[in-house]
Symmetry: C2
Subunit: 183 residues, 2 copies
DNA sequence: GGGCGCATGTAATGAGTTACATGATTGA
DNA sequence: TCAATCATGTAACTCATTACATGCGCCC
């Protein structure tokens, strides 16, 4: 429902056509959502069917015709419902990347540290990118700051993790007994 | 690929049947992955076809027969490949919940704060649950700690956010101009 | 005797992605 | 003239989920 909320919220402020929406999302909100073009067009179509938004065809110069969408009253109701649900709820995140951590003793400490070094570089790059986003007026700024905060915490955590790993040249063991499988 | 890595990694330490795997994951790793039973059975089947794991039927008492899986040599190779890719990479997270933040000025400040209070309660509950997980030996502990760290940071961020929101009784505005849509 | 645990699956569904298709216009 | 931009979609596919199906044993 978050994607619907996003599209409704943007259309609520200003009527737009699909291409324009995608461009804005790509430019400003790319680190918050990764909605793809066919998905957006599909959702716009679905919400138009549902009566949440109204569609008007328009033409600018000799460009292809555009489907301009604007929020309806039903759409406003849906928007408020979705927004309230969004603000009130919290969905816990799953760190899929962490799965590998459960098996770090399967490789040599040296290789593990090298690999985590690569991870750290990727993370630092993401952080630099988030920091480089120019400030936006209004509450969008909160989203950017949240992302920066999160990435900083991740980097700090990863650095701390690396210091806690064994630095010695011990060999990798095939089946360490330190993972409790017993019931 | 992270789910495959997880299953391979567990089978690498100890051969198990599907039900046993799911039980372990539900009990110990439920906050790290949310793999469901049909998915696990499907993946086990697929990896058996691929030759990564070998299947043996076994029976305990008068219980239903079990498909016990163990890692093959090809599976070991696949495991190491997946593990290296996992440790070296970093996939940036998208906070779908943040989308609502872009539109917080659509509701009255009072209601916004009330809704965010509900969010905070859900978050605090998740944190309490993560903290209550009994310590696990070995590197699984890292995953738990990471989750706790992350939830703590989230809580701190949310608290700070609430203080930065307007506390006054201003009316909600229909179309605030503080979101730059211009190009 | 009724429900839960054990143990494995199938079928239907859904959400979202990639790849493809179209066709004019604008800029290098 | 060649690529990129504008603007909209369709079709096929992947991945994962929910709901359903089965059937015996164990415990209260």
């Amino acid at each position: 429902m978050d994607r619907e909320l996003l599209l409704l919220g943007l259309l609520r402020r200003q009527e737009m056509h699909g291409y324009q929406l995608m461009e804005f999302i790509d430019r400003v909100l790319n680190f918050c959502t990764d909605i793809k073009k066919p998905t957006a067009y599909f959702l716009l179509d679905k919400m138009a069917e549902a009566g949440w938004i109204a569609r008007t065809e328009s033409q600018a110069g000799h460009r292809p015709p555009r489907q301009v969408y604007r929020l309806t009253e039903q759409g406003e109701i849906a928007f408020q419902r979705l927004l309230r649900a969004n603000l009130a709820g919290y969905t816990a995140l799953r760190f899929a990347d962490d799965i590998g951590l459960a098996f770090i003793d399967s490789l040599s400490p040296a290789e593990t540290l090298a690999l985590l070094g690569q991870r750290r570089a990727a993370l630092a790059e993401a952080l630099a990118a988030a920091r480089a986003v120019p400030p936006h007026p209004g509450s969008i700024q909160f989203i950017i700051e949240h992302q920066v905060r999160h990435l900083e915490a991740e980097l700090q955590w990863l650095d701390e993790l690396q210091t806690r790993l064994p630095h010695s040249g011990k060999k990798a063991r095939r089946a360490p007994k330190d993972l409790a499988l017993a019931h």
